[in-house]
């Protein structure tokens, strides 16, 4: 029996120790916000936080997550930075298909936690491991900057 701390809650799972955290989250616990994209840590869709650090859960054996605080996209909105990031994402309308965006937001949130006012180079370094086939990269960059400055400007919408 393995005990995992996910988004502040303990979960007990009966799984092999070498099973990637991604599949424990998705297929055993039922947290499907974290996505499968490549299985070899090339696309970043599966990014979660382990004690605040971004990791690719598709290649992380679940044993490596024991006694650590796991945060997923479902829980990131409970943090101040995570909430700001989600708001900026909506404000700029980053998402198209949205499939990679869980991982993008997790990488971006970890960046901001470490570097509150990131430069373009910081953003390049932190985000180039997250692929987006819809090509939302320019808006991802803009949303990170918006979340960093705290100035949220939503597109015009009706009352």
């Amino acid at each position: 029996m393995i005990v995992l701390s996910i988004n502040g809650q303990d979960s007990q799972v009966e799984v092999p120790e070498d099973m990637p955290l991604l599949w424990v989250l998705r297929d055993v616990i039922g947290l499907t916000g974290t996505k499968f994209g490549c299985g070899i840590a090339q696309c970043g869709a599966c990014t979660v936080h382990l004690d605040g650090q971004p990791v690719r859960s598709c290649v992380l054996p679940v044993s490596g997550a024991i006694n650590k605080k796991i945060t997923t996209i479902e829980g990131i909105g409970a943090t101040d930075i995570g909430k700001r990031m989600q708001q900026a994402w909506l404000g700029i309308e980053v998402a198209q298909c949205g499939y990679c965006q869980s991982g993008q937001i997790m990488s971006a949130t970890a960046l901001l936690a470490q570097t509150p006012q990131p430069t373009d180079t910081d953003i390049d370094r932190a985000m180039s491991g997250n692929l987006c086939r819809c090509g939302t990269y320019v808006r991802i960059r803009a949303a990170i900057k918006q979340a960093a400055t705290g100035q949220i400007t939503l597109p015009q919408t009706i009352a």
Partner: protein, 760 residues
Amino acid sequence: MAIRVTPVEDGDGPLNPSRRELIKRGGLVVAFIWLSGPMRAWGMAETARIDQGQPQFAPNAFVRVGNDGSVQLVMPSIEMGQGAYTGQATLLAEELDVGLDQITVEHAPPNRKLYSNPMLGEQATGGSTTIRYCWSTLRNAGAAARYLLVSAAAQHWKVDPSQCTVARGVVTHAPSGRTLRYAELADAAAQVTPPDKAPLKSPSDFQLIGKPLRRVDTPGKVDGSLPFGIDIRVPGMKVATVQACPTFGGRLVSVDDTRARAVPGVLAVVKLDNAVAVIGEHFWAARQGLDALDIHWDRGANGKLTTEQLFKDLAEASEHGTPIVGRDVGHVDGVSGKLVSATYQLPMLAHATMEPINTVVHVRPDACEIWVGSQVPARCVDVATKITGLPAERIVVHNQYMGGGFGRRLFEDSVEQAVAIAKQVDYPVKVIWTREEDIAQDRYRPAYYDRISSTLDGQGKPVAWTHRTTGASVLATFAPSAMGKNGLDPDLVECAADLPYEMPNMRVEWVRHDMPSGLAVGWWRGVGSTHNVFVVESFVDELAHAAGKDPVAFRKSMLGDNPRALAVLELATQKAGWGQGALPPRHGRGVALAAPFGSYLCVVVDVEVSPQGEISLRRAVTAVDCGMVVNPNTVEAQIQGGLVFGWSAALYSGITLKDGAVEQRNFNDYRVMRLNQTPPMEVHIVHSKEQPGGIGETATVMAMPSLLNAVFAATGVRLRTLPIDRSALVSDNNALKAALSAATPLDIPSDVASVARMLV
């Protein structure tokens, strides 16, 4: 042009016990009820309900107003990121006079009668058609619903409906100050006789159309709560992964599954004619089981196929095949002047949607239930019928949000396979393809081989133009009846036969050369236009160079009476600063102009090419005239994303074959652009009162020639084969050598490193 919303026949009979049984047993989130009795106008054939027993006003296939105040809009086109749900909801909500924050959207069920796309002749989303075909249809549907609700209010108050106004779902009778909410009118509106045609708003009265409204689908995409097909979980469901024969047309001979069955969590090994699937308690067990199989394939007739052979055959067909004429104007033969000729070659391409291919299927003796994100939901019913032998009314397909489509999900091959797997077990199965399977078993954008030439007169003006493209037809298998009488696939000459330029003598033709049997081809973002505009706009650049003219001035001189093309050319080049000052060495600016999918675009790209041959995109400026705009924010997003999609392919993507199998495996060797490689992009939208044009694929069409023309401007090297061969762009071998020896292997992707090593 206003298209009247036509009455739809009632194709389905009354809710019969077996169907009711099916619905109950399926535990469906969305239940369909089939209304019996005489048909109502406006397509009262069918309604969709969230909760059983909740009365709704459902005047047509698209609008549902509940007496609880809910407004549900049913989306005929699917959402794969392109913004279709927001656009369609905007068209309906505009005429219905509700806010986008007051509605919910529903995936349309498979139903060709109600939800076919008239531009495609099928219930299909593709070809950048959604706004074009919905522009009138959905506004009419919204207006019709509004008419009935207002009539119900007027009848209740015994006043003239023309005295009533509506805002945000509230009908007001101004003279008396009385108001009624749509919720209060739903039941009464269902009794009102529908009009032949409800009046539409004048564009000057639009409240929603044309505004950058927030997308209806994105809140659930930033917190992980919106389910994609791959996220569906149903009670008792198991997870499978599959490997098909790596060679196209090959078969399964035998499989030793001893080791696979020993993997903890593996439940079953399922054999198909050309594939093996392993079913497990979860994906990890299934994946480990699949890796542990010892499979013996009959590699089939394509077992030795290579990319080199494919292109050799294409070149041969181009030379000796029988061309089908797509356009013949004037006399191209015997025109005297300076002849310029070139040959272009485009690779097979995979789609690599971020969400790998997946389907959830539950096959029972008397029914089949499917959860999948599909661009062709009705075709999913067809294949399930074929595999299970059940009648169509025993198949239920729940369409889902898609993690990218790009044409891949216009094909239901994976759904057919999943049904065949699920048919062999008595529980629901979610079949997920690995990324490796996704790359190796795609429906590939075909390879093309194009020969093109033009004759320039004494002033350097093109006076004759011949273009012969050679390649496979996707349409021939996707919709055979849409092929031309002379055997022409119109997709093959799209944007080639209809240039934006004046051309007095012109012949455009296609030599059909299908891929070897078993190698399936498919639509890819931008379809024929992506292929042809790359060739045409690269070649126009070549002609400008041969004529010694500026590429923009050269294009302008050929535009004749084409004000929309001229306007985007002038706008983009002006914003980009075309011709204003020289660029540094190894920097270049390229332009492309075209009119794909009923829209007009000009893209200007700035690049820098390092002495080692690496390309850095510095800036892109787009001007677009796509007619009347429903949501400018979506237009901008589609331009930004479409460019990245096209540049990715030009820079990196190409599917190659060795011994009949695809050589690429995953994102490490089927590379796509990343954030750090993406330049700033400007999008300028031309104000237009023309009918809406397409937008989703247009920028992908423009991406490749604008990039390659910029690379030419930077280096003087004209690249006519994609993807880009960086070795042709190296200006300093010593610099490349130094960079390679200084870098750690991790810094350089393996495919780049291997090319580089050959050079030094």
